[in-house]
């Protein structure tokens, strides 16, 4: 049975309710086991040894002194991994290049950022391993670092990678370069569009590199066995990715690796790549012992994936009635030390919420001596949106228009084309704008030094591969198994969908996340895809289970299968057989053994697309003109969820994304010294929002069903971080009269700007 049945008029019994999550008890009592909570007898502690330079050739590494330290059991460098060549070529949207990925784990020819790991040590204790690491001798040839887009593009810029050419479209670039890729989207006639415009606004914008900031540092435990097989326990968004990636980077047959995902303490995209696992496997093999590796917070900041810093230039043209007619956008994104910034996604998302007939978008992926970026929640979209939503706000001001009305006037609708080509299906953009406008916060009066900002945004959401297995227990309860680590309540959503179909109480469905040997393949928990795609597999598998239950009931009642309908947990005889009555699931389950054996079914999906999610945020903010300190007074998130399976966790995504975006707008940034060293690699100086920084975050869930999912679900995790940068900046403009082109709008910057404006 296809999962894509039309259920648009269905009256749900449990979908949309708010049951307590099945894994909650273990999480409020401290029993849940996260990445660093696993150990094995005899486990060694592994640590990376990291580069003191941001850019330096590695001429020679001598590990002999470290190896002699008592308690040290293994030391590895890149030489201990089979050398994978750089392909330079992006093999997908994330720019998969195994050669690059391997050089992120352990630097080979060069250290490419301060803190780049070049060796790893396993020893009886962490202290011994760290001490031994200090005895590793390296001959470096120190090179000048490239620390910004401007430096990377300068005439005489040091080139990070010999052999790196510019790919893609756009103006040709000669020779080796730090621009790895150029992306161009064009439509209409740009010159004619601007000639037609009554009003033009333009600006240059800058955003800093920021980190996902998950509270749990990366951690894993690896046990390489004598027979060549190995087990990995780790905190990851994608256990199947850990399996294949660890295999590729260590030259191992992936089928010999079993990955058990632990509970995961946040990821936001940053726990899709592997960092520790290949090194821990190589160490474990060399030492013949299990190896545990956990990063310190400082290592997380220095050595794991932030998202790109950027420089952007945007020009918008409009008619005097507010109709957008032209847009010219340039996005330059720092990729970190290897290609793969999310500039492509930013090119696709930044202008697509609006109808603009004439446009040109150029995106450039630029390598710099900083950690290689990883996905961060709607990768790229918040950055571009900051520029677009800031200028739309300017336009509304110049035209004397309400900012929501201006957006409504230009909002894309079903059938409208995204700037990257395809037409949107049913989307809820106008509905979210209207709901934001109708919300009481939008009418709340503002006082002195206060301002209100509006911004909108969208994210594609992902489909990708998922599978699920549903089995019935002898008492009529059920188990749902998937391979997606539960990062924000997805177990409860999986159980709800299974329970809804089966017609049993959600508390009688036990959801579990299996290891890579126990469940079918699932792509990572990411891309806002789990409730959508894995949920579809759960629904499909449950419907197959129902078919089995109906068949068993038909046998038990001695009627044709066609005469059995499934209603609220009961097999009911119909079609002239109604005198035979019905059998509840408990009775069918109890007799499973006699009617054909255990009932279990699996399903897989690979939807090529998902339903895009649009959101609109309203930020009310107050600025203290004496100190530059700003305070968010009220904050509203309105977003189309398609169908909210578990509204509590949908709201949680809205609130969490907004909070991260507010942090990005107001405080968060990596600070670098001239040599390329991160100066604030800790939570004291890299300041993420704390409870006293924020107000309650109000939410409105709009539901415009996504026709690609049987219940209408759209992913909700990523869209909420898209609008906040613009919403906060627009509120700041409203409060202070100053347009901020550069993030974060931290107190010293605000104070400077206010003084400059006087």
């Amino acid at each position: 049975m296809s999962a894509a049945t039309d259920d648009s008029n269905r009256k749900f019994k449990q979908i949309g309710s708010r049951p307590i999550r099945h894994d909650g008890l273990d999480k409020v009592t401290g029993r849940a086991r996260f990445g660093a909570d696993f150990t094995l007898p005899g486990a060694l502690q592994g640590v990376f040894v990291r580069s003191p330079y941001a850019h330096a050739k590695i001429l020679k590494i001598d590990t002999s002194k470290a190896e002699k330290v008592p308690g040290v059991k293994a030391v590895i460098t890149a030489e201990d991994l089979p050398e994978l060549p750089m392909s330079w070529v992006s093999q997908g949207p994330a720019g998969v290049d195994s050669g690059a990925n391997q050089r992120v784990i352990l630097a080979r020819e060069k250290a490419l950022y301060h803190g780049h790991a070049f060796a790893a040590v396993a020893a009886a204790t962490r202290e011994i391993a760290v001490e031994a690491g200090r005895l590793i001798e390296v001959e470096w040839e120190v090179l000048p670092p490239v620390l910004s887009v401007d430096q990377a593009l300068a005439e005489d810029a040091p080139i990070l990678h010999e052999g790196q050419k510019t790919e893609g479209a756009g103006p040709p670039v000669e020779g080796d370069t730090n621009i790895t890729n150029q992306i161009v989207f064009e439509g209409g006639d740009l010159d004619a569009g601007f000639a037609d415009a009554d009003l033009v606004v333009e600006g240059e914008f800058e955003t800093p590199m920021v980190h996902q900031g998950y509270i749990e540092p990366h951690a894993c435990l690896v046990n390489a066995r004598e027979d060549g097989t190995s087990e990995i326990w780790c905190a990851t968004q994608g256990p199947f990715g850990v399996k294949t990636e660890t295999a590729t980077l260590t030259g191992t047959d992936p089928q010999t690796i079993k990955v058990t995902p632990s509970e995961i303490g946040g990821g936001f995209g940053g726990k899709i790549p592997v960092y520790l696992e290949p090194a821990a496997l190589a160490l474990s093999r060399k030492a013949g012992r299990p190896v545990k590796m956990t990063m310190t917070r400082e290592e997380v900041f220095r050595g794991t994936g932030p998202t790109s810093g950027s420089k952007m230039k945007l020009k918008l043209g409009a008619k005097s009635d507010g109709t957008l007619v032209a847009a010219d956008l340039r996005l330059d994104f720092e990729a970190g030390c290897f290609r793969g910034s999310p500039v492509g996604a930013a090119c696709m998302t930044t202008l697509s919420p609006y109808v603009i007939p004439n446009f040109r978008i150029l995106g450039r992926d630029i390598v710099v001596n900083k950690p290689r970026v990883a996905a961060y929640r709607a990768p790229g979209a918040p950055i571009g949106s900051f520029a677009a939503e800031s200028l739309l706000d300017e336009l509304a001001r110049k035209l004397g228009r309400d900012p929501i009305d201006l957006r409504l006037q230009n909002a894309i609708e079903e059938g409208g084309r995204a700037k990257y080509g395809p037409k949107f299906g049913p989307i809820g953009f106008k509905e979210t704008l209207e709901a934001a406008k109708a919300h009481p916060q939008y009418k709340t009066a503002l006082e002195g030094n206060q301002g209100r900002g509006v911004a909108a945004g969208f994210w594609f959401n992902a489909g990708m591969q998922s599978s699920a297995t549903v089995s019935v227990n002898p008492d009529g309860s059920a188990v749902v198994r998937t391979g997606n680590p539960d990062i924000g309540g997805s177990r409860a959503s999986m159980a709800l969908m299974c329970a809804e179909e089966l017609g049993i109480d959600v508390a009688r469905v036990r959801p579990m996340v299996g290891d890579t040997d126990s469940v079918g393949h699932c792509d990572p928990t990411g891309g806002s895809r789990v409730t959508y795609a894995t949920g579809m597999a759960v629904i499909d598998a449950t419907r197959q289970v129902i078919d089995h239950l109906r068949a068993r009931a038909a046998t038990m009642l001695d009627v044709e299968l066609d005469s059995i309908e499934w209603q609220d947990g009961n097999a009911v005889a119909v079609n002239g057989a109604s005198d035979k009555g019905s059998i509840p699931i408990e009775d069918i389950a109890r007799k499973m053994g006699a009617t054909g054996g255990p009932i279990v079914a699996s399903a897989s999906v690979s939807p090529p697309a998902a339903g895009p999610g649009f959101g609109v945020h309203v930020c009310d903010l107050e600025v203290d003109p004496e100190t530059g300190v700003s305070r968010v007074l009220r904050y509203l998130v309105v977003q189309d969820a398609g169908k909210a399976i578990h509204p509590t966790f949908v709201e949680g995504q809205y609130q969490g994304g907004a909070a991260q975006g507010i942090g990005w707008a107001l405080n968060e940034e990596y600070l670098w010294d001239e040599e390329g060293k991160v100066e604030n690699a800790g939570f004291l100086d890299y300041r993420v929002p704390v409870a006293s920084d924020l107000p309650m975050i109000d939410t409105v869930i709009v539901e415009v069903p996504n026709p690609l999912h049987p219940y209408g679900v759209r992913g909700v995790g990523e869209t909420p971080i898209v609008p906040p940068l613009g919403a906060v900046a627009n509120a700041m403009r409203d409060a202070t009269g100053v347009r901020f082109h550069r993030l974060p709008m931290s107190p010293p910057r605000v104070l400077d700007a206010l003084e400059g404006a006087e």
């Binding site: 708010r18 307590i20 999550r21 894994d23 909650g24 008890l25 999480k27 409020v28 009592t29 401290g30 029993r31 849940a32 086991r33 996260f34 660093a36 909570d37 150990t39 996902q212 900031g213 998950y214 509270i215 749990e216 540092p217 509970e263 995961i264 303490g265 946040g266 990821g267 936001f268 956990t294 310190t296 917070r297 990062i487 924000g488 309540g489 578990h646 509590t648 966790f649 709201e651 949680g652 995504q653 609130q655 969490g656 994304g657 907004a658 909070a659 991260q660 800790g682 939570f683 004291l684 993420v688 929002p689 704390v690 409870a691 006293s692 920084d693 924020l694 309650m696 975050i697």
Partner: protein, 160 residues
């Protein structure tokens, strides 16, 4: 290096452990005693994931030397629930969905219990400032604060 023998009371149980002079209480709890409910987010006192109560005071266990807990009482997340019964704070965290990934949850619960012990009727602002030492990157704090305020209300009713 000679190990130090420490006698302490953890969650009401007399406990003995060996540690070296530099080891933090967090390390001993997690690695020495297998009490992994207390989490590590930073080891620098900045995230609150490792919150415990020592002699009645809320502290980040990463900044407490294990050797200094001799003769004192230590209360951790594992001791919060009363046997099989959750406290109102724990229960409200579940009801409100005040956790997404859950890594910050033990620290928040230990801190929130302390807040409500000191101040049974906190305002929203008081709760926010008291819990400002605990970082949560997932929730935006909204549901956490609501859970704590509701737990306070439940506890006040229970007492009345």
């Amino acid at each position: 290096m000679a190990k130090i023998r420490v006698e302490t009371t953890i969650n009401g149980e007399e406990t003995e452990f060996l540690c070296n002079g530099q080891e933090s209480l967090l390390e001993v709890l997690r690695d020495g005693l297998g009490m992994t409910g207390t989490k590590e987010g930073c080891t620098t006192g900045d995230c609150g994931a490792c919150s415990v109560v020592v002699d009645g005071r809320l502290v980040p266990s990463c900044l407490v030397l294990a050797a200094e807990t001799g003769g004192r009482t230590v209360d951790t997340i594992e001791g919060v629930a009363d046997g099989q019964t959750l406290t109102p704070v724990q229960q409200q965290f579940l009801e409100h969905g005040a956790l997404q990934c859950g890594i910050c949850t033990p620290g928040f619960i230990v801190a929130a219990e302390k807040l409500l012990e000191k101040n049974p009727n906190p305002t929203e602002a008081e709760a926010r400032y008291f819990l400002a030492g605990n970082l949560c990157r997932c929730t935006g704090y909204d549901k956490i604060i609501k859970a704590v305020l509701d737990a306070a209300a439940v506890m006040r009713e229970g007492r009345a």
